[in-house]
Structure formats: C-alpha cells, structure tokens
Amino acid sequence: MEEWIQTKDRIIEELFALTFRLSDEVKRGDWEAMDLSLQERAKVFINLIRLDRAHAKEATDKDVYWGKQLEIIKKSGDETYAVIRQELVNLANEFRAGELSRKQIFESEMISPKGNKIEKSV
C-alpha cells in the first residue's frame, strides 16, 4: 500500500477516535475537555488538508470538505478558533516557503500512529 494511503488511514483512525472521545465527553458533560478535543480535531482536519494537497499538489474537493468541517468547529469558541487560525497560518507558511514535502508530513508529530493521545483517555 502506498505510504500516503497508510498515513491517511492513520489520520482517519485518529479522527474516529476523537469522535468516540467527544461522545464520552458529551456523556460526562465535560465541556472543557470537549473544547480541547475540538482543538485536536481541528489539527487532524488540517493534517488531512495537508496530506490531500501534498498528494494532489493542489487544492482538492476533498480538502475543501475538511475545510468546511473547520468552519463548523470554529463556531465552538474563541480558543478553538485561535487554534484553527494558528494551524492555518502554519499551513499557509509551509506552502509559501515551499517547505512542504511528503517526508515532513509522514514525520509530523501530529500524526500519531493509532492516536496514542486517545488511548490514554480510553
């Protein structure tokens, strides 16, 4: 299997783990934790945008979809919005500086295999 597909699978797993975590936080009524999960989720969406663009070498329909998910999350709160803004600034800077390479994506710390952050909370 191609490396980028494996990476994408890992990100989707992480996304799914965050959905599971979010449902647990809703169940517990822990809104503070939920805000943090949404911030993490925003980062995962940015990673998906990053990966899709790096693979296609341009904006794709798919990353527009992830962008729309960010629009939804941004309405959650100022702090979450600040995280999204910072991530998008980072993304724009990477593209501008031409530093974005597949290697960097695969080595990115944010893409944690099997969502290790999630496993702690299970």
């Binding site: 597909i5 994408k8 699978d9 990100i11 989707i12 797993e13 996304l15 799914f16 783990a17 965050l18 959905t19 599971f20 979010l22 449902s23 647990d24 936080e25 809703v26 169940k27 009524g29 809104w31 503070e32 939920m34 949404l38 989720r41 998906l48 798919k62 979809y65 962008g67 998910q69 960010l70 629009e71 939804i72 999350i73 941004k74 309405k75 959650s76 100022d78 999204i84 803004r85 998008l88 600034v89 724009a92 099997k114 299970v122």
Partner: protein, 215 residues
C-alpha cells in the same frame, strides 16, 4: 482627509461601523468579534458580497482595510444557530443511515481508500451532531440529556452511541473490516435512527436560555 485619518465603513449585520483605513483586516475582525455579546458568533464574512472561507479569512489578516473592498460580517445568535442546525440534524441522521450501507459496500468491494475517506466523513457528521447536543445542553432550558425517547432518555442513547463508537474504533484500528461494517450497519445504524427521533423531538421542544449556562 489624509490616508492615515481616513475611515472605512464595515458592515456588521447591516450596521455600518467605522474603522481606520490603516487597520488590518485582522484588527477589524478581532475587534468585531470582541465586541459581540457572549451569545453571538461571527458566521460569515463577505468582501464585495463574495463569501470568504476560513482559509482566505486567515490569509487576509495582515491586509490593510484600505486595500480591500466592502467588508461585511454576519453574526448569529447561538440559540438561532442551534435552531437552524436542528432543522438539518434529522436529515444528517438520515444521510448517516445511507452512509453506513455505502461504507459496507465499499469495504466489501475492497475499495479501501474511498471506504476510509467515507469513514472520515461519517465521523465528521457524528461530530457535528455531538457538537449540536452539547450546544443544546449548554444553551437550552433544562437538561437535554433527560429528554424522553421511545428507548430511554437522550443520555441513554448518547451512552450507547459512545459504546458503539468505541467498538467501531477498535475494529477500525485492528483492520477488522467485517467486524467494523457489521457493527456499523447493525448497532450504529439502529442508534442513528434513534438520534433521528431525538433531533426531531428537539426540533419542536428545545428552548434556548436567555443567557448560557456556566458549567
């Protein structure tokens, strides 16, 4: 009037507000957001009547207002935003039901890349619904989680969904796709139908508070 002292009008919900022409879009955007009451959020930004998406909004942050066209912000009261979302939520649940069957077909056909993408989309939709539940809980009168449904309370349903999502995640990570699709098209799908009932009920019964609850 010199360029330094010139003022530029920005529309916030059709109300004209003056800002210095030397202010950046980011300054104005932050100022608008900070002056909104707690129960309102900026939902859309337009430049010359064109919708600006989040990425463009970020890229415009350092640009001076004098270099932009007519900028307009639209805001929404959170209760209203939740009400609008509630109109859409039952449709999202119905879409999820179809999504489950389609994902199963994709896994069965071994088209894994598309199947995973669809799982990501499904996850995003469930997330949106979870955000809506938390919004209803935070901004609603009474405890939404106590809402009575045909199969217990809304809280019971959220608990069951959490359990299914946990099992689904386990199957996905283990790459046990038959187990994943089985759970998806049986338990998860059945719960999605209960959520459809829950959101249809909330669409009629949910009432926003005047001021948000402090948790």
């Amino acid at each position: 009037m010199s360029a330094e002292t010139r003022e530029i009008e920005v529309n916030v919900d059709e109300v004209a507000c003056a800002f210095g022409a030397q202010a950046s879009f980011g300054d104005v955007s932050n100022s608008v957001k900070s002056q909104l009451p707690n129960n309102r959020v900026v939902t859309e930004v337009f430049i010359d009547n064109r919708f600006i998406d989040l990425e463009e909004e970020i890229s415009l942050q350092p640009i001076l207002m004098a270099q932009l066209g007519n900028v307009a912000f639209k805001t929404k009261e959170i209760g209203m935003l939740i009400r609008e979302s509630l109109e859409m939520a039952p449709q999202i649940c119905a879409a999820l039901t179809m999504e489950c069957e389609e994902i199963r077909a994709l896994f069965e056909q071994q088209t894994f890349v598309e199947a995973h993408e669809r799982v990501g989309e499904l996850s995003a939709l469930v997330d949106w619904l979870l955000q809506l539940i938390s919004g209803m809980q935070s901004y609603g009168v009474g405890d939404f989680r106590d809402t009575k449904l045909n199969s217990g309370t809304a809280m019971d349903s959220v608990r069951r969904m959490e359990s299914y999502l946990s099992q689904l995640h386990g199957a996905l990570v283990a790459k046990d796709y038959p187990q994943f699709t089985d759970l998806l098209t049986r338990d998860f799908l059945a719960e999605t139908k209960i959520w459809e009932e829950m959101f249809n009920k909330a669409r009629v019964e949910w009432t926003p508070q005047k001021t948000p609850k402090i948790n």
